[in-house]
């Protein structure tokens, strides 16, 4: 039985993809619209992209988002990788089940709850909300995604490679940096990319934990849209879609490379 492209399949596929991508396609198309009216086509133009460059607050927000994204992705990758190593390599230790549960919980936690609880925490600690609180919030919710990605790579890695390194005189730390890390590097890179994308996209958690002077790009866009959609926003969103698409492409290439890594099946 080979699957066939019946008329039914074609129709349902078309409808499905249309539902998913039509809004995005519209947005991209209208970002090149000459007209100032969002819903009326007035010819091709890149004037809104040029106008973006003159929009100080939007550029500033993009810069904030980029810095928060890079910083939080980097912290999340370090912490998430360490958590994955602890979960996979240290066998059964006290509190392992609890830690596993705690790592996975944020994956399914509604963002509103994560955001609200972080807000309460920062208020209770009397921390000034701003750049660093958003960064911290992003670290805490994207870390678990990194853990999941790295963990799946670690469990398939031949344990005897690390044992061989220790057998040859490498301390556990040297083993991690010289053997484990190079072998899980594709997954670590993929995890970073994922955390970066999550941070760049986030509106809900950032809205809860941000303060004056630290408006992220999604927050700025959302704020402007409430006053009316302008083609400029369409252009900004198109650029974001481009960045996220590139990140996801890099992510999938990195994880494919990880799968094809000769070392994976080498042991057997």
């Amino acid at each position: 039985m080979t699957p066939r492209l019946t008329a039914f399949n074609v129709v349902s596929l078309t409808l499905g993809f249309a539902f998913l991508y039509l809004p995005i396609v519209l947005l991209v198309v209208f970002s090149f619209n000459e007209s100032k009216l969002v819903t009326v086509w007035g010819g091709f133009s890149t004037r809104w992209y040029a106008a973006l460059l003159g929009n100080g607050p939007l550029l500033e927000a993009a810069w904030v988002s980029l810095r928060i994204g890079v910083l939080s992705a980097t912290f999340a990758t370090v912490l998430g990788t360490l958590a994955a190593v602890a979960l996979v390599r240290f066998g059964r230790f006290a509190g392992r089940t609890l830690l596993t549960g705690m790592v996975y919980a944020p994956l399914v936690m509604p963002e509103v709850i994560t955001g609200l609880s972080l807000l309460l925490l920062f208020v209770a600690l009397d921390v000034d909300r701003g750049f660093w609180t958003v960064t911290l919030a992003h670290v805490s919710f994207s870390m678990c995604f990194v853990t999941v990605v790295v963990q799946s790579r670690l469990v398939t890695m031949d344990r005897s490679l690390e044992e061989a390194a220790m057998d040859l005189g490498a301390t556990p730390l040297a083993t991690f940096f010289q053997v484990t890390l190079p072998l899980i590097a594709p997954a670590v890179a993929a995890g970073w990319m994922l955390a970066f994308t999550l941070s760049l996209d986030d509106l809900v958690i950032a809205s809860f934990t941000s303060g004056p002077g630290a408006t992220t790009l999604p927050m700025r866009i959302y704020g402007q849209v409430r006053l009316g959609v302008s083609p400029e926003i369409n252009a900004a969103c198109t650029i974001m879609i481009g960045v996220v698409t590139l990140a996801i492409l890099a992510f999938s290439i990195a994880s494919k490379r990880g799968l094809a890594e000769p070392g994976r099946a080498e042991g057997a």
Binding site: D158, S160, L161, A164, D167, A170, T171, A268
Partner: protein
Amino acid sequence: MAEPPGRPAPLIRFEGVTKSFGAARAVAGVDLDIAQGEFFCLLGPSGCGKTTLMRTLAGFETPDSGRILLDGADLAGVPAHRRPVNMMFQSYALFPHMSVEANIAFGLRQDGVPRAEIAERVAAIVRTVQIQGLEKRRPHQLSGGQKQRVALARALVKRPLVLLLDEPLAALDRKLREDTRFELKELQARLGLTFLMVTHDQDEAMAMADRIGVMEKGRLVQVGAPAEVYETPATRGVAAFVGDSTLIEGVAGAFDGAAARLRVRAALGASSPEFVVAAREAPAEGSAVTLALRPEKLRLWTEPPEAGTPNVLEAEVWDLGYLGDKTLVRLRLPGGGTVRVSRLNASRRPEAGLSAHQRAWIGFDPADAVLLTR
């Protein structure tokens, strides 16, 4: 264990080493001494605990109880990376992201050996295991035999007190495996190193080891030279696992101390023939014993042998397995049960005059049966 006078202290000593995984006992109370320069082989069926025992010496498993001494020093609490032993892993465990050269140099770099010396020692070991020209390759660009040599070089280059080998030849094809046996043995003798090898292949153990330790369900049941283990197995398990044996259950009868002969009433289905076998001491009369008969030590006649020949049984040829150098004949005993007899094909007329379902007589010399009480 008292030290035999005049013998040097052992290089490795296992004292009552026990290791369980959850409820399962992988290693149960192993006592073993291995001397400097010895080629020692742990032999046993898969899952009997050989690898686990070896890993306690390498430092990857911590014994639940017991001690391991290396060169007189207790290894308890010494982490794997500080033990002067090196292991060749069953999977070879070559680092896939490093060249052959970097793999071999890895251990020396960890010890902070100067660069020039590393280069020198790597070059020397590359020559020893004959992998010149492969230095720049990655592990996935090597054949199975080449990987095995790189793994060997990587472990040897550190000049360990003991080299541990976990099923070193299991991944090679048959011809290469047999050639490599002799090479490894020769290398060990030339370097004067102590080798501790694990295998489930008894031919491999016989061909390579100075002494064999046979393991069974986590216990070390017999230790001895290959010939000793083969000719005088200590237990039914050893007799069945090391080489081919037909085991016949029986009951001990009268003992003739002067001739060192024991009568055994065998339980072969309905019939119960009486055999005479060599025995140094008598098990209690009436106790259960087992006779182990090696196929190559059984005689086979197509005519009834002359009267007075000891230990003769009439049987029916069941099938003939032609193996080239020998033919394995399976026979059915009248009371049920089968016996295997091997016949050397010393000439080019294979088993003329022997065919399935014909009557035949088998027999064995009293000294050729192994009497087992355990």
